[in-house]
């Protein structure tokens, strides 16, 4: 056993983020980031999920205590909030772009071997004058072929996310079954409008989903909670 040359290890989630980022980088997507402590506007309202909308049920939210009159804050429930922030930064001089956003997100739900209050997602946004579902499908297919291997297949199923239309669920055929991996679709015109970009001129596609499950399945990690206790018994295996 090596004594003085102790080996360092990147967390397996970081390794996954790096792999994913590198694959998308080759397709022209640049890594972006945004805050984990978000306002209600960026996490919900601008994404077509105003207060009292049933779509808010789709995500259990950690709300932060705020003083009366202060803007409501949440721990972001998805990396999709960064879509809005990035679009907003482009509003005065919009031009085509492709980004991906890996990051930590939070859900206020009971934890067990497959559920954790924090986990990682990757999000993507592509904006151009013309953007189609075929390009979305092609991009995701290419990604999974790289990420999983030459046997990877994907399918789109009709679904709903308040910030895309049409909206689809992306399943990946992996280890002999269909796995629900990403939500995806064409950027809803209201998202462009919410930040002052003209949806008549600009179109986009977006997709996003969890990274943890991809890692757990790939390596047979039996309990998601092992990922976040700083336990080198897990970390140093990778």
């Amino acid at each position: 056993m090596e004594k003085n040359t102790q080996e360092g290890h990147l967390h397996i989630i970081t390794q996954a983020v790096r792999d994913i980022s590198a694959i998308f980088d080759k397709m022209g997507f640049s890594v972006q980031a945004g805050p984990e402590l978000e306002t209600e506007f960026y996490n919900f309202d601008a994404l077509g999920t105003p207060e009292d909308h049933p779509a808010r049920d789709m995500q259990d939210t950690f709300w932060i205590k705020t003083k009366p009159g202060e803007e409501k804050k949440v721990l972001r429930t998805h990396t999709s909030s960064v879509q809005v922030r990035f679009l907003e930064s482009m509003k005065d001089n919009p031009k085509p772009f492709k980004i991906i956003v890996p990051g930590k997100v939070f859900r206020n739900e009971a934890t067990d071997v497959t559920h954790e209050a924090q986990f990682f997602q990757v999000e993507s946004l592509y904006m151009n004058k013309n953007v189609s579902m075929t390009e979305l499908k092609g991009t995701l297919e290419k990604f999974f072929l790289e990420f999983i291997g030459p046997d990877a297949k994907i399918r789109f199923r009709p679904s709903f996310f308040s910030f895309v239309e049409p909206g689809v669920e992306v399943d990946v055929w992996w280890k002999d079954r269909w796995l629900e991996i990403f939500g995806a679709g064409l950027v809803h015109p209201d998202v462009f409008k919410s930040v002052g970009i003209d949806p008549k001129e600009w179109k986009g596609f977006a997709f996003g989903g969890g990274i943890d499950r991809l890692i757990m399945l790939r390596y047979g990690i039996d309990d998601i909670r092992h990922l976040y206790t700083g336990d080198l018994r897990l970390i140093n295996q990778f």
Partner: protein, 636 residues
């Protein structure tokens, strides 16, 4: 939502696909089928209806219509006799106080009612999808809701005093629900009232006071439409979410109210032939109008990325009961009232896309863009720092952001240890040092060396911090945790060409250093290309080795052997005799003296089933001892 296959079949004269086939059709073109189970002589789908389609799909007719569309099967025309509004003889006048909150209220008064059991075909239908039969009136109201999506309520007319008023509750007002539970209301809760107070919480739950019983002779049937957000707030606050509130909060068209009323009256007349309508009150101050959506074939083709046949969009939308007209290149679609999900051209692309089926659209890549967006600077430098630290033998943690105390607190924490956002990385990192220090032998490390880059939340807001932690697990002369940590900081300074503070906090559990990275990153040049970071592919075929929750036992053994004996020979004896519970062994010291070599091995014993006792470990150690001495070697 539970959907009965037999119920679906009742809308068709011709054969429809089998339940198994429908499961696939629904999944590919409509919604996720989470389950399909046999119940009695029926089959029941558990369909995941999402908010966009909940306006029309939370009922059997809605789902049946989709089968018609997807498989081109005509549906039966099912109509009921019109109910003619006429309130001349109405015993109860209906007042709506806020027509935004209650958009329509139909009250039908009937007499000569016999409240008995429901006919078998009704209870059968309800039974398979888990709805308990109460009495024929309640069952019929449920039946109509599950059939066409309109929640309804039936009151015992003899228990209502004075007129019916739809309006907000008084703050602190109480109502006893049908379940017997008493709840306190406030002015945000819309209620149905008579002169004695609330009879029901609008759209959410009926009250006990005007409950229909076996003795009921005269009734008031309510078919109304309420404002979605109001119903959602009320049902959420009172924790009374149910089939009725769910449909209202997702919004249904007020036009549905009369359709439901004609159906329930037809059914009541069938079951209770003497029943007679005495008044029909329909308060509908602002009837909704139809709306149109203009699209072009070109636009839909661009969104989907495919070429459509002429007339294809028109055909698909017509099958969905939309009126369609075409003028030049503009296709004008007028959806039916219940299709509140069809509002903009993108919604039509959604319909066309799913009906055609996404398996039938090709895949292409996005074009290369003129310029590539710069990658995020914090990401770039964070990854650079990680590279430097891993190179120095540090491992990366991703610890919990939620802790027990902090500047930002969670509104309704589920657990006390997750009630605030971390203000620093240090606190959780020291726990991680302790955890890993305990496992040092198992991990075969002498020093715990960890780091994390992550977001923290202080009174200044969100910051990106870097923390490095070191714990020496074995005392070493002249070496402290701080020294190892300092070395790492110096290496970072060298690699990144920056000056860093050196304030290290040390304790018995080691040393930790934490800084706010934002300040340093802001001074760095812009991010470079991702390819300069040397990202590696994920390992493909690794299998995670589970670890035991039970403590492990460490035993060291030093063996003196003649110099001509190979290390492998020594190790083989250990491996062969240590038993299955020895999960790890490694050489940790070698030296030579007087023509002999000393090999010091560390053995780790651990069980997945229990805490091991000394005796259980000793057996194996003695075994090894015996084998070693049997060879004529010496155990020191």
């Amino acid at each position: 939502m539970k959907v009965s296959y037999n119920w679906l079949k009742s809308y068709f004269d011709t054969e429809i696909p089998t339940a198994k086939e429908l499961e696939v059709i629904f999944t590919d073109h409509l919604f996720e089928v989470e389950d399909l189970v046999k119940v009695d002589n029926d089959e029941v789908f558990e369909g995941k209806v999402l908010p966009d389609r909940a306006h029309y799909l939370l009922c059997h007719k809605g789902v049946a219509r989709e089968i018609g569309v997807l498989r081109d099967i005509p549906m039966k025309e099912i109509t009921f006799p019109d109910v003619i509004a006429g309130d001349d003889n109405a015993k109860f006048k209906v007042n709506i106080q806020d027509t935004d909150l209650c958009r329509r209220y139909i009250a039908v008064e009937m007499e000569n009612i016999t409240v008995g059991d429901s006919p078998k075909w009704i209870t059968d239908r309800l039974d398979v999808i888990g709805q308990k039969s109460i009495n024929c009136l309640v069952d019929l109201a449920n039946f109509v809701m599950l059939d066409i999506g309109q929640p309804m309520h039936v009151f015992d007319a003899d228990k209502i005093q004075g007129d019916i008023t739809v309006g907000p509750a008084d703050d602190g007002e109480k109502i006893v629900l049908l379940t017997g539970e008493e709840v306190e209301l406030n002015s945000d809760n819309l209620t149905i009232n008579d002169s004695n107070g609330p009879l029901a919480i609008a759209g959410v739950k009926g009250g006990k006071r005007a409950e229909v019983t076996k003795e009921t002779k005269r009734i008031v049937i309510e078919s109304a439409n309420f404002y979605p957000a109001s119903i959602r707030r009320t049902s959420t606050r009172l924790n009374l979410r149910n089939d009725s509130s769910k449909r209202f909060e997702n919004e249904i068209t007020p036009e549905l109210a009369m359709e439901a009323m004609t159906e329930i009256i037809a059914l009541i007349s069938e079951i209770s032939p003497d029943a007679k309508i005495t008044a029909v009150t329909d308060v509908y101050p602002n009837p909704v109008s139809k709306w149109t959506v203009d699209v072009s074939k070109d636009k839909i083709e661009k969104m989907l990325g495919i070429t459509l046949e002429n007339g294809q969009i028109e055909n698909i939308m017509k099958k969905m009961d939309c009126e369609v007209s075409v003028s030049n290149d503009v296709i004008t679609v007028t959806p039916p009232f219940n299709r509140l999900d069809i509002k903009i051209p993108e919604d039509i692309a959604d319909e066309v896309g799913r009906i055609i089926g996404y398996e039938n659209i090709p895949s292409i890549l996005t074009p290369e863009l003129e310029s590539k967006t710069l990658i995020n600077k914090t990401f770039f430098y964070s990854e650079k720092i990680k590279n430097v630290l891993v190179e120095q033998g540090f491992s990366e943690t991703l610890l919990y952001s939620l802790v027990n105390k902090g500047f930002y607190e969670i509104s309704y924490p589920m657990a006390s240890d997750k009630s605030a956002l971390r203000e620093n990385l240090l606190k959780k990192m020291s726990e991680s040092l302790v955890l890993n220090g305990r496992n040092a032998d198992l991990l075969a490390i002498e020093t715990v060396k960890i780091f994390e880059i992550g977001q923290v939340f202080t009174s200044n807001g969100e910051e990106t911090h870097l923390a490095i932690g070191v714990q020496l697990t074995k005392k070493k002369k002249g070496l402290k945790s701080e020294d190892i940590l300092k070395e790492a900081i110096l290496e970072l300074e060298k690699e990144l060409d920056i000056q860093l503070p050196k304030d290290i906090s040390a304790s018995e559990h080691g040393a930790i250093w934490e800084i706010n990275l934002d300040e340093f990153i802001s001074k760095m040049p812009s991010a470079g290309d991702i390819s300069t970071l040397g990202f590696k592919r994920l390992p493909l075929d690794k299998k995670f080795e589970k670890f035991s929750p039970y403590p492990f036992v460490t035993r060291d053994i030093a063996i003196f052997v003649p110099s001509n004996i190979e290390r492998d020979d020594v190790q083989k004896i250990i491996v062969d005799n240590a038993g299955e519970l020895c999960i790890k062994n490694y050489l940790f010291d070698v030296f030579e003296k007087d023509g002999k070599t000393s090999y010091a091995y560390r053995l780790i014993f651990q069980s997945f089933e229990k805490t091991l006792t000394d005796d259980e470990v000793n057996v194996h150690m003695e075994n090894i001892n015996k084998k070693i001495t049997g060879k004529g070697w010496e155990v020191r």
